[in-house]
């Protein structure tokens, strides 16, 4: 074989490479089968399912209230959104609405959660593209939010704070001040991220013009969230199909036209600012006191709960009440905890705007005290399907930037 023939023979062969499932940039356990011609990606096939935990099946074997603790674990970076979509769906089946103060608290925690989620996105994206300092800064600020969550719900993640008919309990003393401090601190920090990245030649080189997904393709592939808004489509469930009173808050739906990784970066930074605006409006509204759970004893959780050292638990005073003082209270408690609420037969699809796009819960009841079917329409699951469209024909290094810009969370993808 002459040297020339040898070269052409090598050129004709493509290489199959497994990226993941244990690769630091795949946000968990995503596996990509890549067909490469040198550095060029010819084909990409995402392989998912490594984190499948049967959350949907599990909900069918638990009471309606227990469902909250399962769905919150799907997309573990946006637990409040999972809880919100589920509780709103069940409340629509029951024909009830949470009290106004509970709705404000739900919006407050969701928007703080959106900021926390975008900060993790910023941190991990920075790390994946070589900006390690951004990783440290992102996690530093997120920690402040997690402290607030821990103070209010007892846990940093998987809070089960939103319940059917309202929320578990009101804000503890000192939480509002902590949130105000955070609101005062974050805008300066966002400006700092921008100073670090927005004109950084490496950051621009890795993101501008990379992973372009047109509006038409995005809609055909069901893509929602920042990835769709980066292509100029102002779809935001909070604005288009308002829930929990979002129609009464002032905020902007941020869009860009470039449809590339850089546009998604700009959108997420701006969305953090918009979320802060909503958080501040929530704090104003919280001056109005009121109940945080519906009155109806057939829906409301009977126990008074408190944050203890290991999360939310029954308050000692309440335990004394049911164990020593009132037989009726004990019977009621027992009935609600073991059997729970009965939900009229029917089905609903409840979408909410999670940090990653349209998160929907399709909840079906057959009139019993357990869900008949819960389907989580997770935005990561759908958005991930668009990755081949964004990376095929590009360079293998861009795959990392594209995955980062889509921000998939495998807990939500595999459920």
């Amino acid at each position: 074989m002459s040297e020339r023939e040898g070269v052409s023979a090598v050129r004709q062969e493509t290489m199959i490479v497994n990226m993941g499932p244990q690769h630091p940039s795949t946000h968990g356990v995503l596996r990509l089968l890549l067909e490469l011609d040198g550095e060029t990606v010819l084909a990409c096939r995402p392989v998912v399912g490594y984190l499948h935990t049967g959350i949907e099946k599990n909900t069918e074997y638990r009471t309606w209230q227990q469902g909250v603790t399962f769905v919150t674990r799907a997309d573990y970076l946006s637990p409040f959104f999972n809880e919100l979509a589920y509780t709103l769906a069940v409340e629509r089946l029951l024909g009830i609405e949470a009290p106004p103060r509970a709705q404000v608290l739900r919006v407050l925690f969701c928007e703080l959660n959106r900021i926390a989620s975008h900060l993790v996105w910023l941190a991990t994206s920075g790390m994946e593209l070589g900006a390690v300092s951004v990783m440290l800064y992102g996690f530093r600020e997120r920690e402040v939010i997690l402290d607030i969550f821990e103070m209010a719900t007892g846990l940093r993640m998987n809070h089960a704070y939103l319940r059917i008919g309202g929320v578990v309990m009101d804000l503890p003393p000192g939480a509002e001040e902590k949130i105000r401090d955070f609101c005062a601190m974050l805008p300066g920090r966002i400006a700092e991220y921008e100073r670090l990245l927005s004109r950084n030649p490496i950051w621009l080189e890795r993101n501008v013009g990379v992973g372009v997904l047109s509006a038409e393709d995005a809609i055909a592939l069901g893509v929602t969230g920042p990835t769709l808004r980066a292509a100029g489509v102002p779809k935001d469930v909070r604005r288009d199909e308002p829930y929990s009173g979002y129609e009464t808050y002032e905020f902007e739906v941020v869009t860009r036209e470039a449809a590339d990784c850089y546009a998604r970066y700009e959108i997420r930074l701006e969305e953090m600012r918009q979320s802060l605006r909503i958080v501040e409006q929530c704090l104003e509204r919280l001056r109005e006191p009121g109940p945080v759970m519906v009155e109806d004893p057939k829906v409301a959780w009977p126990a008074r709960l408190e944050v203890g050292p290991d999360g939310i638990g029954n308050s000692p005073a309440y335990v004394r009440h049911i164990m020593e003082e009132s037989m009726e209270a004990l019977i009621h408690h027992f009935k609600m905890v073991t059997e729970g609420v009965h939900v009229p037969a029917g089905e609903v699809y409840q979408p909410v705007e999670s940090p990653r796009g349209e998160l929907g819960m399709y909840v079906v009841s057959d009139g019993e005290h357990r869900p008949y079917r819960v389907r989580i329409r997770d935005p990561s699951f759908v958005n991930l399907q668009a990755v081949p469209k964004m990376v095929e024909g590009g360079l293998v290094a861009d795959v990392i930037a594209v995955i980062a810009s889509v921000d998939p969370v495998m807990g939500g993808v595999d459920r």
């Binding site: 998912v48 399912g49 809609i219 055909a220 592939l221 079917r373 329409r377």
Partner: protein, 165 residues
């Protein structure tokens, strides 16, 4: 379009359309599914360009046993519609809609994986969440939770409730 108007508009074409809890739901025969979705997508008045999800429910002992639901959304009009198709127990098959909505690809794979519904004309109908060698379809109501043996490090581990000790 508001749900009431949309229900009226859809009912003119699909008589089995109801409005419940603010949601418009239309039932169609499985032969009519593909032409119906094509029309709903192309008609500028409905313009359902985004398919939010495809999923299924299982009702053993009833006929039809399986119900597929297609949640449609219009980015132009910002309205929603759910199209439902009933499938008989003896023949749980449906035409794939991935040709109309490419996003249906993974949703249909998931329904196939977890419910065992076969989608004719699907470009690549394989399991998506469970391993390829898995037997059964766990979201069917006839399959118990934790009731399967699993292979771990070369040996079979019995189901949770039959491990003894």
């Amino acid at each position: 379009m508001r749900p009431e108007e949309l229900a009226q508009r859809i009912r003119a074409e699909l008589p089995e359309t109801i409005l419940a809890r603010g949601e418009v739901v239309a039932v169609v025969a499985r032969e009519a599914l593909v032409p119906t979705l094509e029309r709903l997508r192309a008609d500028p008045e409905t313009a359902f360009d985004l398919l939010s999800q495809v999923t299924a429910t299982d009702w053993p002992g009833r006929e039809p046993r399986f119900w597929l639901s297609y949640d449609l959304y219009s980015t132009r009009h910002r309205h929603r519609l759910r199209v439902k198709v009933g499938l008989p127990e003896a023949d749980p098959r449906a035409p794939s809609v991935a040709g109309i909505y490419p996003t249906a690809d993974w949703h249909e794979r998931e329904v196939y994986d977890l419910f065992g519904v076969v989608f004719d004309g699907h470009p690549d109908l394989r399991r998506i969440l469970l391993p390829e060698g898995w037997e059964g379809h766990p979201l069917r109501k006839t399959e118990e939770i934790g009731g399967v043996r699993t292979r771990f490090h070369g040996t079979w581990v019995p189901p949770v409730d039959r491990r003894g000790g």
